[in-house]
Assembly symmetry: C2
Homo-oligomer: 209 residues x 2
C-alpha cells in the first residue's frame, strides 16, 4: 500500500494526474492490478489519501491564523500570525514535498475526476488568504488595497516560490525565503525614496527611517 502510494505520487509528478493509469501504478509498485483495488476504490481515492495530511495541516494552520488575527490589534501580532502560517507551510514542505508539488501542479486545473479534491483545497486556501487579509485590513493594518487582490497576490507569489524551491530552480537558500517574502510583501520592491540609486544596502532589511 505504501508502495502503491509512492509509485502513484511519483508517476503523478512525472506525467500529470490524467497521464497515469492504474496499470502504470501497479507496475511501478511491483504488484498486480487487483491489489490496487483492495486499497483504493479508484485513482481519485489514492489522490485523496495522498492529499489528506497536507490538507489538514494547512487548513488547520490557516484557520488558527484567522483566529489569531481576529484578536490582533497591532502590527506585531499580525506578523506573528503570518509567521505561524509560514511555519506550517515549511513543515508540510519538509514532510510531504511530493504532495505539495502535486498540489501546486494540479491546483489550477479544472475540477474534474481525480483533481476535484486538489482544486477544492486550492479554493479553500485562497478563501482563507483573502479572509485573513480582510481581517488585517479591517483593523487598519494594511494599505487600502482590496483584500481580494492583495490576498490572492500573496497566494500566487508564495505558490510560485514554493514551486521554485521544489523544482530546484536557483533561488538561493530556501531558508532565507520567508524573510525575503516578508520584506517583499510587507515593504515592497521599490527602493525607498531617499536612498541613493546604485548604492545598495546588502543586509536585506527594510531600513526605512
Amino acid at each position: 500500500m505504501k508502495a502503491l502510494s509512492e509509485a502513484g505520487l511519483r508517476l503523478f509528478l512525472e506525467r500529470g494526474l490524467d497521464g497515469v493509469t492504474i496499470d502504470d501504478i501497479t507496475q511501478a509498485a511491483g504488484v498486480a492490478k487487483g491489489t490496487f483495488y483492495r486499497y483504493f476504490e479508484d485513482q481519485t481515492a489514492l489522490v485523496e489519501a495522498l492529499l489528506g495530511p497536507v490538507r489538514r495541516e494547512l487548513l488547520d494552520g490557516m484557520e488558527a491564523c484567522g483566529r489569531a488575527l481576529a484578536s490582533a490589534r497591532e502590527v506585531e501580532a499580525m506578523f506573528e500570525a503570518y509567521r505561524a502560517v509560514a511555519a506550517i507551510i515549511a513543515s508540510a514542505l519538509l514532510q510531504y514535498p511530493g504532495v505539495v508539488r502535486l498540489y501546486l501542479q494540479e491546483c489550477r486545473g479544472p475540477a474534474v475526476g481525480a483533481r476535484v479534491k486538489i482544486v477544492e483545497l486550492a479554493r479553500l486556501v485562497s478563501r482563507h488568504a483573502v479572509d485573513i487579509t480582510e481581517k488585517a485590513h479591517t483593523h487598519g493594518l494594511l494599505r487600502p488595497i482590496r483584500p481580494a487582490v492583495s490576498g490572492l497576490a500573496v497566494v500566487g507569489a508564495v505558490e510560485r516560490l514554493l514551486l521554485a524551491v521544489l523544482s530546484e530552480e536557483d533561488i538561493g537558500n530556501p531558508l532565507e525565503l520567508p524573510d525575503a517574502l516578508t520584506t517583499l510583501v510587507l515593504d515592497g520592491l521599490r527602493l525607498p525614496p531617499g536612498t541613493q540609486p546604485g548604492r545598495r544596502k546588502m543586509d536585506g532589511r527594510p531600513g526605512r527611517p
Copy 2:
C-alpha cells in the same frame, strides 16, 4: 478548422488537456474524426496553434521590456517598461482570454505530450521576468532581494490575479488591477510607518514622505 480550435479550447478548459480526446473535439465541433487530422497532426499541434499568437505577443513584449530596461537609469523609465508589459498582458487577455486561461491552467504541469509548449512558454516567461528584475536590480533601482526571488514572486502574483479575473472571482474592477498591483509590488502591503492605524487613506497611493 475554426470550429475545431474553438471546440478544442472549450473542452481543454472544461476537462484539462489530458481529459479531452480527438473524438470529443470532433463531435463538439460537429465534424467527422478524419477532418481533425486534415488540419492538425495531433492534439499537440492543435495546442501549439492555439498558443502561438499569445506566445509571440508575450515574448516580444517581455523582450522589449528587457531592452527598454537595459537603458533605463531612472525609476520612471523602469515604471514605463513595466507598464508596457502590463499593456501586452491586457491586450492578450482581451484578444485570447481562453488561451490565457489554458496557459494558466496547464503551465505548471509536467512537460509531457500536448503540454510541452505551454510549459516551455512558462519557463521563458519566468526567465524573462527574472532577467528583467536582474537588470533593474543591477541599476540599483530595487531593494536588495535576490532577483530570482522577487521576479518569480511577481510572476506568481500576476498569474494568480489573471486567473481570478478569468474565473470571475470577485476582485472588483479588473481595470484597477494594474494600479493595485503596482502599489502592491512597488510599495508593499504594509501601512507606511507614521500613518495612524485605523485611519486608512482611501486614494490608494503610496503617500510616503
